[in-house]
């Protein structure tokens, strides 16, 4: 499965036998009367279509399917069944932009064509004149679609195949992305701005510095990207750093977050250190000095490109990993079940997750235990720096574990922070694969590990994370579409229909109402979230919260109210000495740091767990797990009907709604008793309607509410598979000899 391209062995699989013969089709299908057309989104244009197309149903081995029409538009590939399906309408968790038979073009990961029983990877639209009998589409959200083209007219088949291949696989310009055609009316801007902080204005940054009591300087000189096009529009630097224009072309520390003790986390882009580069060393010293000046003249630096996998490693690992979930049929599923654990391990993906979390824990330890400033660096400063700094902030700051806080964090570190989403996600299908890497997904994976280990600490649910991981590829939002703030601004300005007046406004992904109605959005909230006790919540002052998340009291003796001039009075020698003492590149041998941070973890573990305090992940083998919801949601073999954590959550939600009802009744009584209107707001009714129907599949809310039989899924062993293929092979032999006789 790992090697792309033609996989000859696959073709002999019995599952490729189609059980629908052309004769049957004639019986089943009436001559097409009226082509059903998809409901187009505003701005969506239909390119081509073909009928009849057989879409294989994924969940049984017999490879049966449904007939319908396949369309390709500027937004998606869509399949419209000839039969009427009620599935879509009954779904409680429905995406307004695409349904179960829609594949937004940017979701397409790979397309395979089956030519004469041989599976080939399609790399572009110009593949001879031949079109495959069957196309298999692997999506970035891990869905797998299989369409059979043999029942439709040759020219239609050719057209739809080339249309799909062209629009999905050919390198295209950013302008072709649907977001620039989409004319859906975004919901009132004000409302969502109030909630998620976008970090696109100086005020947002000032506010954030105030919230964390940071002692840094806001830079507005890059408003017109004069300093650098790779830098954010606004950012914050250590106050000790001088004139930025003098450092042009070199990286400098950008503030991420301040610990309550005063020490802070900075990130910087740094070219790899070349030895004996005096100029570089000088610049590096200036930077580290500036960082150290932030608090108590202490600093540690960490070059992430040295200690973590490269973005190419990450991509390769994920490529291997995702293959295990792109299951085309039951036989594949049970075959891959045999070596499941070692396959997972061989991809290295879980190990990369562990390494990132481990690194973040090390940084947390520096901030929390040693109260030193930390500067993390890498070449670009916008990949692993974003991963680590975001994770550190989630572990240390409970605000980022709320839904709005988390979204603000993604804005701050990733979107405003200039992560190259366009290149990393390869939205444009560029052939140059060098810069493609699922770095943001890696971050979400790490967050998921934290969520599953410490569920009550997070306001958002894993469903939210799963949806967010899909939304990265939704070509409707501007959030994940650009490589930098400068890129965003220039493109949006250029693409504006009313040039010069106002830039094009695309909805942000945080406007969830574009994708989900409010009922469905309730699934984003974690019912286990332990909210802060009421009176504390009412205060709503962020600095109040900070005292809550203290693990241990910082040594107040070191605290000085006039930090700025702290070293002014010191003699140079003392300064030097201190510097030697506290200024250190801090990576020892990997073993020793692991042992040290283990100690840190254990001492944290011994304290009573405070969900609004420091949060550390357990990184032992069994603790780092596969994100089941995201990766297994489309595989029918693993759905447990009426089981999984969904079953428990359903019970919990039922009870929660009862309690909330009761509370309301009581409050009503109270207010009527007091004979005056009630000013207190009711607790928000985040009631999930899990449906009264009882048994939901474990893949809820993603699985289709398909009428599944109650038959169990009986694993087929390797032996049985082999036997099956053998007998089939012999049958084929007989058949061929028969043919030759004729």
């Amino acid at each position: 499965m790992l090697s792309l391209g033609s996989v000859g062995a696959k073709s002999t699989k019995p599952s490729f036998v189609s059980y629908v013969t052309p004769e049957e089709i004639k019986l089943e299908k009436e001559p097409p009367k009226k082509l059903k057309h998809p409901d187009l989104l505003p701005g969506e244009v239909e390119f081509c279509s073909a009928n009849p197309i057989l879409k294989y149903t994924q969940d049984d081995l017999s490879q049966r399917g449904v007939f319908g029409t396949l369309f390709c538009t500027n937004f998606r590939i869509t399949f419209i069944s000839d039969e009427k399906s009620q599935e879509e309408t009954t779904k409680t968790f429905k995406n307004k932009l695409y349904g179960e038979n829609d594949i937004p073009l940017m979701f397409v990961d790979h397309i395979y064509g089956v030519y004469d029983e041989k599976r080939k990877l399609i790399t572009g639209a110009l593949v001879k004149n031949k079109y495959p009998s069957k196309i298999i589409i692997h999506c970035k959200d891990l869905r797998v679609f299989q369409f059979c083209l043999t029942y439709t007219k040759e020219e239609d088949a050719k057209k739809i195949f080339q249309g799909i291949a062209h629009h999905c696989l050919e390198e295209k310009s950013l302008k072709c992305v649907f977001a620039f055609s989409y004319t859906g009316t975004p919901s009132p801007e004000m409302q969502r701005k109030r909630e998620t902080i976008l970090f696109d204005s100086p005020e947002d940054w000032t506010q954030e510095m105030k919230r964390t009591k940071a002692n840094c300087r806001l830079v507005t000189e890059n408003e017109n990207f004069e300093l650098s096009q790779r830098l954010p529009k606004y950012f914050v630097i250590p106050s000790a750093l001088g004139d930025l224009f003098s450092y042009q072309g070199k990286g400098f520390p950008i503030w991420c977050w301040s610990h309550y003790s005063g020490c802070a986390l900075f990130k910087a882009s740094l070219p790899p250190v070349t030895q004996e580069d005096g100029d570089f060393q000088k610049h590096f010293d200036i930077m580290i000095n500036a960082v150290a000046h932030n608090y108590l003249y202490s600093a540690k630096t960490e070059d992430l490109s040295e200690s973590l996998p490269t973005i190419q490693d990450i991509q390769q690992s994920y490529n291997k990993f995702k293959q295990f979930f792109l299951i085309e049929n039951s036989t594949d599923f049970w075959l891959s079940d045999m070596k499941w654990f070692s396959s997972l391990e061989s991809s290295g993906w879980l190990d990369i997750i562990r390494q990132c979390l481990q690194k973040a824990v090390e940084v947390v330890e520096c901030l929390e235990k040693d109260n030193t400033n930390v500067l993390i660096t890498e070449e670009e400063g916008t990949d692993l720096c974003c991963v680590i700094s975001s994770l550190v902030q989630i572990m240390l700051d409970p605000y980022y574990r709320t839904l709005m806080g988390f979204q603000s964090l993604v804005q701050k570190e990733w979107v405003a922070g200039c992560h190259a989403f366009l290149d990393r996600c390869n939205h444009l299908h560029q052939k140059d694969k060098e810069c493609y890497s699922p770095v943001f997904l890696l971050f979400l994976e790490c967050v998921w590990q934290l969520v599953q280990q410490h569920s009550p600490a997070f306001q958002f649910s894993e469903t939210y994370l799963t949806v967010l991981s899909d939304s990265v590829h939704m070509p409707v939002f501007s959030t994940f579409l650009f490589n930098s703030a400068h890129h965003r601004e220039s493109v949006l300005k250029a693409e504006s229909p009313l040039a010069q007046s106002s830039p094009l406004s695309c909805p942000t992904v945080w406007d969830w109402s574009v994708q989900f109605d409010s009922k469905a959005q309730n699934y984003f909230f974690n019912p286990l979230y332990s909210e802060k006790v009421k009176h504390e919540k009412a205060v709503r002052k962020p600095h109040k919260l900070k005292h809550q998340r203290q693990l241990s009291l910082p040594s107040t003796a070191f605290k000085t109210p006039f930090k700025k001039g702290f070293f002014k009075d010191e003699t140079d020698s003392l300064k030097k000495m201190l510097r030697v003492k506290r200024l250190s590149r801090w990576m020892g041998s990997p073993d020793s740091t692991a042992a040290i941070s283990r100690e840190f973890y254990e001492s944290w573990q011994q304290r009573p767990l405070d969900y609004h305090g420091l949060l550390l992940p357990c990184l032992d083998g069994p603790a780092v797990r596969v994100w089941m919801q995201r990766y297994l949601r489309w595989i029918p073999e693993v759905h447990i009907l009426g089981g999984g954590s969904v079953a428990v959550m359903t019970k919990l939600m039922e009870l929660l709604s009862q309690v909330q009802d009761l509370k309301r009744v009581l409050e009503q009584r109270d207010s009527s008793q007091a004979a005056k209107p009630d000013h207190r707001p009711y607790i928000q009714h985040r009631l999930l309607s899990f449906g009264s129907s009882g048994r939901l599949p474990s893949s809820f809310p993603f699985a289709y509410s398909r009428n599944r039989s109650f038959k169990p899924i009986i694993p087929t062993g390797l032996m049985q598979c082999l036997m099956l293929t053998d007998s089939l092979a012999s049958q084929e032999d007989e058949a061929s000899s028969f043919v030759s006789l004729v």
Binding site: E345, L528, L641, G644, F710
Partner: protein
């Protein structure tokens, strides 16, 4: 300082649930993790009067450090010792040995480090190092336990300091090898409920609507004459005479003839269990056996009886050499034979051994997943579960099945009991699960004594195998996949496993009913269910939703099977132990909140009704309606 207490001195203190070793240890995330903090010692001198020798008050009343002893438990020796905790450094303290347990408490620091180990879990005691060995703490004892841990103690090198304690542990851990009795026969514990009454065979068969026109109860085995490893009451086809049964017994290994385990009330399909037919190399046939299986098939008009042979095909063939074998196609024409590929007890034992290697004391780090895979433990779980799924599926589709392996007491018990758990929601209740274990495992002669080696020093005995543990693991996997379908919780499963080894209760002692009867286990020992059922609240799953007619089919895929960390790795403090799952905690909080609100509303209504007599407000009806609406689901 060590002191040997004369065996006449009884220290009878009330046993309390909270002091039970198994419970505490699962729950706590104590840093030391040797064991959990023990509930405060109950100082009321309850055992006082029952003690025959009241003269040495001080010694007698000194508690075992801070844990209460069980009635019938006696102190044997105390000793200063160093516990070499694999997760921390060496811990200085004192070890107390009684006739039931090994208890260790540290003396060197404030943070308590305790160990509370029933001697029954010990499988092996070895001396480590010699009087001349160098290095710190190199002289001492190494104790291998059956519950996935090893304990190491160090002593002072001078004066043969370990000789007495080694001998005492060796003697009391393996009483049967020393002509002594298991602790279960010495225990004086009393419980309100008598757990021996949990399972009455007739009552259980009646629950299954048996006997009926197709199936009869036979007492042919009332003196264990037909089969000495079967229970006295058996259910067989109505048309089979006792004489038939005797002739069938001659053709089945150890006379374990096909008898009914479970009857499907709607479609009348049955699960039958037995041992392998004695076909042998020559391919012997037995007309009576063939006819008997056909009677089973005919009982509900099954067209083809399915025989599930739990073994891999090759093993079944190999068994012919020793006189066994399987039902051949030509002899049993109305039957279909399916091999389920489950390996034998030796393979399972080795697999668990490998598992222990990668989880104790340290969890394999660099290659956790491939190491886990290489133990094959979960693969075996998968095969057992998928075998049981096939059995359950066949039966629920209306066909009767016969399940056997070689002797019909290991893999067969796993398969029938798991299939019954899937088919019959009664067995998913706290009481029903006890009945299931009593019926399919205990009464039908799973050889607990041989498989566990209770009180026996022969740690390398080839008969030992974690078959029952594997079954409980399968049950745990099912409870994980269906968290609302079981009335009992994970804690019950852990308690069952702990007392599988502890020898505190008689439940799992001996190999079969006849041996239990001749040793008067019911009369002389306490049942584990007495203990469990005297405080059931500990074992109740709050999410349990009874659904009587539902068949549970777990997904037997590696994607869903997971290592039971809270059992196999529970001794490791680093593995995240959550005292209670957050969901459960939240649920209980909400339950309390709901009750509180309901109470408040009730009070308000009460005051309302008094108001109502004065002035009737139209609004007053609304809350009333609300409450009735809210209460309906409960």
């Amino acid at each position: 300082t060590s002191c040997v207490i004369p065996s006449g001195v009884h220290l009878n203190l009330r046993a309390s649930h909270k002091n039970d070793m198994s419970l505490v240890e699962v729950e706590e995330a104590n840093p030391a993790m040797a064991s959990a903090p023990i509930a405060p010692y109950n100082s009321s001198p309850l055992g006082n009067s029952s003690s025959p020798n009241a003269s040495r008050e001080s010694l007698k009343m000194e508690p075992l450090a801070d844990v209460a002893m069980l009635p019938g438990e006696e102190r044997v020796i105390d000793k200063d010792i160093i516990y070499i905790c694999p997760f921390n450094a060496a811990v200085k303290g004192k070890v107390f040995i009684t006739n039931y347990r090994l208890y260790f408490k540290n003396t060197d620091s404030e943070t308590p480090v305790t160990l509370d180990v029933p001697l029954g879990v010990i499988s092996r005691v070895e001396k480590m190092g010699g009087a001349s060995s160098r290095g710190e703490n190199s002289y001492g004892l190494e104790i291998t336990c059956k519950d996935m841990r090893n304990l190491r103690f160090a002593l002072k090198q001078e004066g043969h300091s370990r000789r007495d304690i080694f001998e005492i542990i060796f003697k009391y851990a393996f009483p049967l090898s020393h002509g002594m009795q298991l602790f279960a026969f010495l225990s004086q514990e009393k419980y309100e409920e008598n757990g021996w009454n949990v399972y009455e065979a007739m009552e259980e068969y009646r629950r299954q609507v048996l006997p009926n026109s197709e199936w009869r109860v036979t007492f042919i085995n009332k003196n264990y004459e037909l089969c000495d490893t079967y229970p006295t009451i058996l259910v067989v086809p109505y048309k089979a005479t006792d004489e038939d049964l005797r002739r069938v017994a001659a053709f089945r290994s150890r006379c374990r003839i096909p008898v009914l385990s479970w009857f499907h009330k709607e479609n009348h399909a049955v699960i039958m269990r037995c041992s392998q037919p004695l076909v042998g190399m020559s391919g012997k046939r037995n007309k009576d056996d063939e006819r008997y299986l056909d009677l089973i098939r005919e009982a509900n008009g099954t067209t083809k009886l399915t025989i599930y042979d739990a073994r891999p095909n090759v093993n079944a063939v190999a068994n012919k050499a020793t006189g066994g074998g399987y039902e051949g196609d030509d002899a049993y024409q109305n039957a279909e034979l399916v091999f389920l590929d489950i390996h034998n007890i030796h393979v399972m034992r080795e697999s668990l051994k490998k598992l222990k290697d990668i989880v104790y004391p340290n969890v394999e780090e660099s290659h956790w997943l491939s190491s886990l895979e290489s133990t094959h433990w979960l693969e075996h779980i998968k095969l057992v579960l998928s075998g049981a799924i096939q059995v359950a599926d066949k039966v629920s589709s209306g066909s009767s099945v016969v399940v056997h392996c070689s002797d019909g007491w290991d893999r067969t018990a796993q398969l029938t009991s798991l299939a019954m758990l899937m088919l019959d929601s009664y067995y998913r209740t706290l009481r029903g699960f006890q009945v299931l274990l009593e019926k399919e495992w205990i009464s039908f002669g799973h050889k607990f004594a041989s498989r566990i080696g209770h009180g026996d020093k022969n740690h390398a005995d080839q008969d030992r195998s974690p078959i029952f543990l594997q079954f409980i693991d399968c049950v745990w996997q099912m409870t994980k996949q269906f968290p609302t379908a079981f009335e009992f919780n994970e804690r019950l499963l852990v308690v069952i496993l702990d007392h599988l080894y502890s020898c505190r209760f008689g439940t799992f002692l001996y190999n079969c009913e006849s041996a239990r009867e001749s040793n008067n286990v019911r009369g002389k020992t306490v049942s584990l269910w007495s203990f469990v059922n005297s405080d059931t609240s500990l074992y109740i799953n709050p999410f349990f939703t009874p659904e009587s007619s539902r068949v549970l089919y777990p997904v037997a895929s590696m994607r869903h099977l997971e290592l039971w960390v809270t059992y196999y790795i529970r001794w490791n403090p680093r593995i995240l132990h959550q005292q209670q799952s957050p969901v459960e905690q939240r649920y209980k909080e909400l339950l309390a909140l709901r009750d509180q609100y309901l109470k408040k509303l009730e009070e308000l209504q009460l005051s309302d009704s008094t108001h109502l007599t004065n002035s009737s407000t139209p609004n007053a009806a609304t809350p009333n309606q609300h409450i009735t609406h809210l209460q309906t689901p409960f």
